[in-house]
């Protein structure tokens, strides 16, 4: 067993895990964060997408030992202190971007990463950013619309904030 120190959703966590444990195992197991899903387990579906040092990556292909000392952000970390959903999460609910919901956390993380680097994406930018996330309910149209809705809401909030 090895001892690791990870920063997950802004909090320092200490875990004792098997040396070969994947980030996904640590998140869903000892850290009790089941929002990140295991789909294919092989990097081919994107359901386990989390942000490591701001980069969207597959938690199923990341040994936990590799992220020691780096910031990890999961879908749980998007929720505000009062339990409010983030703009991206709300947009997925309002825009009908969720059907069975299994791919949703990964989709949300990819969209979050996109909006952090490009607050005003075109529909093409959104589709490109989601090419690593599969949805088997075939809800892509509404997922793209939800992402664009999220972008608009975030920009409005920012502009509103600037005025205030």
């Amino acid at each position: 067993m090895i001892d690791l120190e990870l920063t997950v959703n802004g909090e320092l966590a200490r875990v004792r895990v098997e040396p070969g444990a994947r980030l996904l195992d640590v998140l869903r197991g000892p850290l009790g964060l089941p929002g990140t899903k295991e789909g294919c387990g092989n990097g081919e579906c994107g359901a386990c997408t989390v942000l490591v040092a701001g980069r969207p990556v597959c938690a199923c292909l990341t040994p936990a030992a590799e992220v020691e000392g780096l910031e990890v952000l999961t879908v749980e970390g998007l929720v505000g202190p009062g339990g409010d959903l983030s703009a991206v999460q709300r947009a997925f609910v309002e825009g009908g971007g969720v059907q069975c919901g299994f791919c949703t956390p990964g989709m949300v993380m990819s969209v979050h990463a996109l909006l952090e680097r490009n607050p005003d994406p075109t529909p093409e930018d959104v589709r490109e950013a989601l090419t690593g996330n599969l949805c088997r309910c075939t809800g892509y149209a509404q997922i793209v619309e939800s992402a664009l809705l999220a972008a608009r809401k975030r920009r409005e909030a920012r502009e509103g904030g600037d005025r205030a």
Partner: protein
């Protein structure tokens, strides 16, 4: 569920520390892990220790040396290679190839060094241990037969790395560090026609950088790939081209194809057809068609990777023409 086997992850800080660890038994370099981890989950490899390169100083980043060569650290991620302005300007085929690997997530994990050293792929081997056992194994792992070439004595699993043909057209080399010192390995001599292990590099040697020499004046390049979906998929066929056209007239050209057999394959005669033709002319277009015909004759896809081999073969001239037009256009 695909579980990892028991193993240790070592995290050296310097090249020397990494080399010392790689000297131990059962140790393998671990860069982005996007090739290694699926292969470990499928029990194709059984290392005891993964030597993580992520924390090793000086292995990541793109720079241009005084002679105009691109020096790309081995652990530079594919996303950075694809987006980097110097790579796009000096080696457009490489930027295109890196940008067409897998998915956005995998390109932010996978490295250029790992892509160059990607293991060969085959529909009969990139499967779970249970699946392979049910079929009776094969030459590449645990067996004595080949399911692609019945009666064949040699594994023909395909080189499937998108950046390999691009780097070959660019005359690139690898900087390799070993306990005995550093040496430069031209990519031209890296691969050997053995699908079991197609690199002339010991599994514990460390690539520190990929060097792309300054290209000729008027350099143009492109990389295109055939794949079932526009994301995720390894190439069913990948074509890289170089067209050097100083003053608007082709001086020299090169075409390399990947995902046919264990080594990337150069199409011979491309320069003979294209040299002396001016960009934008009917003569050039006729020469491009002629290069496509040569490629069709020389390249014979095998049923090693997914996709019908006859279809893949018919797509060879199509992709060669498209890539040449993209570079020359």
């Amino acid at each position: 569920m695909l579980r990892l086997p028991q193993l240790q992850v070592a995290r050296p800080r310097t090249v020397e520390e990494a080399l010392a660890l790689l000297g131990g038994e059962g140790a393998l370099p671990f860069a982005g892990g996007t090739d290694l981890l699926p292969n470990l989950k499928h029990r194709l490899l059984a290392p005891q220790t993964l030597v993580s390169l992520a924390g090793v100083e000086g292995l990541s980043g793109v720079s241009v040396d005084p002679g105009g060569a691109l020096v790309i650290g081995a652990t530079t991620r594919l996303h950075e290679v694809a987006e980097h302005p110097e790579v796009r300007a000096r080696a457009p085929a490489l930027a295109m190839a890196a940008g067409l690997v897998a998915s956005p997530q995998i390109r932010r994990m996978g490295t250029l060094g790992g892509n160059v050293l990607l293991d060969t792929r085959c529909r009969y081997v990139n499967q779970s241990a249970f699946w392979r056992k049910s079929l009776g194994h094969c030459l590449k792992k645990d067996g004595a037969v080949c399911h692609v070439v019945p009666g064949g004595q040699k594994c023909v699993a395909a080189a499937s790395n998108d950046t390999a043909p691009a780097l070959l057209t660019l005359g690139a080399s690898l900087t390799v560090a070993t306990a005995a010192g550093t040496r430069e390995v031209p990519l031209e001599s890296l691969w050997k026609p053995d699908g079991v292990y197609n690199r002339r590099l010991a599994p514990n040697e460390l690539v520190t950088a990929i060097r792309v020499p300054a290209q000729a004046a008027g350099h143009r390049g492109a990389y295109l790939k055939l794949r079932p979906r526009e994301s995720f998929d390894f190439p069913l066929l990948g074509v890289a081209v170089r067209v050097d056209a100083a003053g608007g007239v082709v001086q020299s050209a090169d075409v390399v194809v990947v995902a046919l057999q264990a080594v990337p394959r150069r199409v011979t005669g491309a320069s003979d057809e294209l040299a002396g033709k001016a960009l934008g002319t009917q003569e050039l277009e006729a020469a491009i068609v002629a290069v496509g015909a040569r490629a069709h004759q020389q390249c014979r896809p095998l049923p090693n990777v997914p996709g019908d081999p006859d279809y893949r073969r018919e797509m060879v001239p199509v992709f060669v023409r498209r890539a040449l037009r993209a570079a020359a256009g």
